[in-house]
């Protein structure tokens, strides 16, 4: 049972023409996705509807007589009759205008058994298309627990189609539902949709059914949605997520780093020395390692977010944050990506799928990388350490200031984009607040698996290719050691002890600088240096900036190699050499004005190829990634220029 392959912008092709195509549709918070996970498990793929940022999932299962079933999980909707993107893609999918032009063979309408009328109202709209329908009366166990009695047989009789009580949480009724796909039948729902839904719903329910169970939700909401206590709890919950990501991701990230370093070392030791060995061990294995290292953060973030969503809290948090974000043209739902971006922009951009409204989603994707991610930390540490060597208090203030500057840039960029290229009315906040409930760990794990695979498969290929190109430019062509190096090494061979070690270190540094200067990246750095000169950067810093285009954290090691001949920037000796490094004209390389300029540049610059690749995928095209890159680079350049020029004018050069 293999999943179907689809990519954004390409028609959906079913490799199993005999598969029964079943579209899963329902109101948000009806357990639709959990039901999809129950039926298809991990056998699914996520893709975007062609030309949209709206995603759908395709899964596989086996039906009657082992016939394959292709299950399509459509976005949650209340109605098909609005112009909202979710409603539009659902309409297109049901009418056969999307997914390869083939309408579904059956539509499975997932109805919350505790709130039947609202689900039946959506069914009334779907029925108008004449599509064969199956109803999954989900959360049937919960309805029973709450004293809401719904007689599935009577609804089935009224509708003339199968109605199957299910519980996605426990899996009850799922095999019966799969079997019922074969018996899907059109439903006749004439007249006003609400009136029809109320008539059908009330005829199959006990009139005296109590509508209880809101007590706990009411009590919790009194605290969690209160402007003061709610905000406090929100800060604690988000802080805990943030802390967990940082704390827990560190170990697997180090492990990934160590595994790939070992793998790289093993490859270079096994293969004969030469270009192929270097390409494999450093380019390809290094590139894959540089991509996979983000995986722990992605996995932890999406697992925690999925769990939180399962409790019903996320909807409340979105409502609380709406007040803060709305003046900048962003909805409350943008808080998840904005928070996640402080760990890593990649999962942040991926989590923008939860932001409703195309313009708002795009705006959130475009500004998320402004928030200071963990990859910026080494750069901040280096530069604030250089600026305030013996004043840790001031270094901490400067460090915190970087986070503030990034947040301000993100919010005002969002405002700018929402008033220009992404103009248009925002979707007013109207959100269902589901009852608080115990989240499904299984569903959270499957969602996490889905996100992780999506990142590795789609972004990984592009990212690795780009990493290899940048590695190649930074390594080739190899230069012969200059005469000075040969002489230093000869001198080292003629003495012993510390003098020999000092000579070898000097030779290594000289050779590394010479090699760095000779590579394509080194040459490019020297060529484009005049562009960066107004920012105070000499050719060495420019090589560092260009080399870190793929990943900003590389700046520290690149600069260390170019200047000090070692990539260990934590080595005090290397730090000292960076602090006292000179330009070709003999002036100090990292003057205060240049250091401030670099700090501002790295707060605002994109400098992360993986994020660009993910933006292109999530936003639905490379034009958005290029806009993100262009705007962030422009802003970073402009702000760094102003910083350097202003500080130089005040004598800090």
């Amino acid at each position: 049972m293999s999943a179907t392959q689809t990519t954004p912008g390409t028609p959906h092709r079913d490799p199993h023409p005999a598969a029964r195509r079943v579209a899963l549709i329902g109101n948000p918070n009806t357990g639709k996705t959990s039901l999809f996970n129950r039926v298809a498990g991990a056998r699914h793929q996520t893709a975007n509807f062609p030309g949209t940022t709206q995603e759908y999932r395709v899964g596989r299962a086996r039906g009657e007589h082992d016939r394959p079933i292709e299950l399509i999980d459509l976005p949650g909707v209340y109605t098909l009759e609005t112009g909202q993107s979710e409603a539009r893609v659902c309409r297109d999918a049901l009418e056969g205008n999307a997914l390869g032009g083939r309408p579904p063979d059956a539509v499975c309408v997932v109805v919350d058994a505790t709130r039947v009328t609202r689900g039946l109202r959506l069914l009334a709209e779907i029925a108008k298309s004449g599509a064969p329908v199956v109803v999954a009366l989900n959360m049937h166990d919960l309805a029973h627990k709450r004293g809401v009695v719904v007689r599935a047989e009577e609804i089935a009789e009224e509708l003339g189609c199968p109605v199957v009580p299910t519980s996605a949480r426990t899996g009850a009724g799922v095999p019966a539902l799969i079997a019922a796909f074969a018996d899907a039948a059109p439903v006749n729902a004439e007249g006003d949709a609400w009136a029809w839904a109320e008539r059908v719903g009330s005829s199959a329910r006990d009139a005296a059914a109590p509508a209880s169970s809101h007590a706990m939700t009411e009590r919790l909401d009194r605290v969690l949605m209160h402007p003061v206590s709610g905000t406090l709890v929100f800060a604690i919950v988000m802080g805990a997520i943030f802390w967990t990501i940082f704390k827990l991701a560190g170990v697997p990230m180090d492990l990934v780093d160590a595994v790939f370093a070992r793998l790289s070392g093993w490859a270079s030791s096994v293969l004969p020395a030469g270009a192929v060995s270097e390409l494999l061990s450093e380019g390809i294995i290094g590139g894959v390692g540089a991509t996979v290292i983000f995986l722990p953060q992605i996995v932890i973030l999406f697992f925690l977010i999925s769990l939180l969503e399962g409790t019903g809290y996320l909807a409340r948090a979105a409502l609380l944050m709406d007040r803060l974000f709305r003046p900048f043209g962003l909805p409350g739902q943008s808080f998840v990506p904005m928070l996640s971006a402080h760990a890593c922009a990649i999962p942040a951009v991926m989590s923008c799928r939860g932001v409703p409204g195309r313009q708002e989603r795009l705006a959130t994707i475009l500004v998320a990388p402004f928030l200071s991610c963990s990859a910026r930390i080494p750069v901040y540490v280096l530069l604030t350490g250089l600026l305030f060597a013996d004043r840790p208090g001031l270094a901490a203030v400067a460090f915190a200031g970087c986070y503030v500057l990034g947040a301000i840039a993100a919010l005002f960029t969002a405002l700018l984009f929402r008033r220009t290229i992404l103009r248009g009315p925002g979707r007013p906040m109207a959100i269902d607040l589901p009852d608080y409930r115990r989240p499904s760990v299984r569903s959270a794990l499957l969602t996490t698996y889905d996100r992780a695979m999506s990142f590795l498969k789609k972004a990984g290929t592009v990212i690795v290719a780009m990493m290899v190109v940048l590695w190649w430019a930074g390594e080739y062509p190899h230069a012969e050691p200059p005469a000075e190096v040969v002489e230093l090494r000869a001198q080292a061979a003629s003495v012993e002890g510390e003098p020999a070690e000092a000579l070898i270190a000097e030779a290594d540094e000289f050779e590394a600088r010479h090699a760095g200067r000779s590579t394509f990246l080194g040459r490019a750095g020297r060529t484009v240096q005049p562009v960066f000169a107004p920012l105070g950067y000499d050719w060495q810093i420019t090589v560092g900036v260009l080399g870190s285009f793929a990943a900003r954290e590389v700046f520290v090691s690149t600069l260390s190699v170019v200047v000090a001949g070692s990539d260990d920037a934590e080595d005090e000796g290397v730090l000292d050499r960076l602090r006292t490094a000179r330009r070709d004209d003999g002036s100090v390389m990292l003057s205060p004005a240049t250091s401030w300029s670099l700090l501002v540049f790295y707060v605002l610059a994109m400098q992360c190829l993986p994020t660009l690749a993910v933006t292109a995928r999530e936003a639905g095209g490379w034009k958005w990634a290029m806009l993100q890159l262009g705007w962030m680079s422009l802003l970073a350049y402009g702000a760094a220029l102003v910083t350097h020029q202003a500080l130089t004018a005040t004598g800090m050069a």
Binding site: E198, D206, A207, A211, D221, R323, R427, A430, D432
Partner: protein, 92 residues
């Protein structure tokens, strides 16, 4: 940047959902907003003749909309949208 209702006029006996206080109830008379917003609010449960109870007021309101024989839906809506939902107040 939510859109306001094109005509937020109320007839005698009606009041907007936004003007109800916490704990007060009412029956939805009409939703007068942009077409898309009307469809969205009604499909979420704020339809004419629906009984509603205000659980929280403020810039965003929380309301419980009835579901005959089922559990009420809790909805969080912006105040500007709540101003477009007209109810006949049903007392505390």
């Amino acid at each position: 940047m939510p859109t306001a209702a094109p005509a937020q006029t109320k007839t005698p006996g009606e009041t907007s959902l936004a003007s109800l206080r916490r704990g007060e109830t009412g029956v939805v008379v009409a939703v007068r907003a942009r077409d898309d917003d009307v469809v969205m609010l009604e499909s979420m449960g704020l339809r004419p003749n629906a009984w509603v109870r205000v659980c929280r007021t403020g810039r965003t309101c929380v309301v419980a909309a009835d579901e005959p024989g089922g559990c009420p839906c809790r909805l969080g809506i912006e105040r500007r949208l709540a101003e477009c939902v007209f109810v006949s107040a049903g007392g505390v």
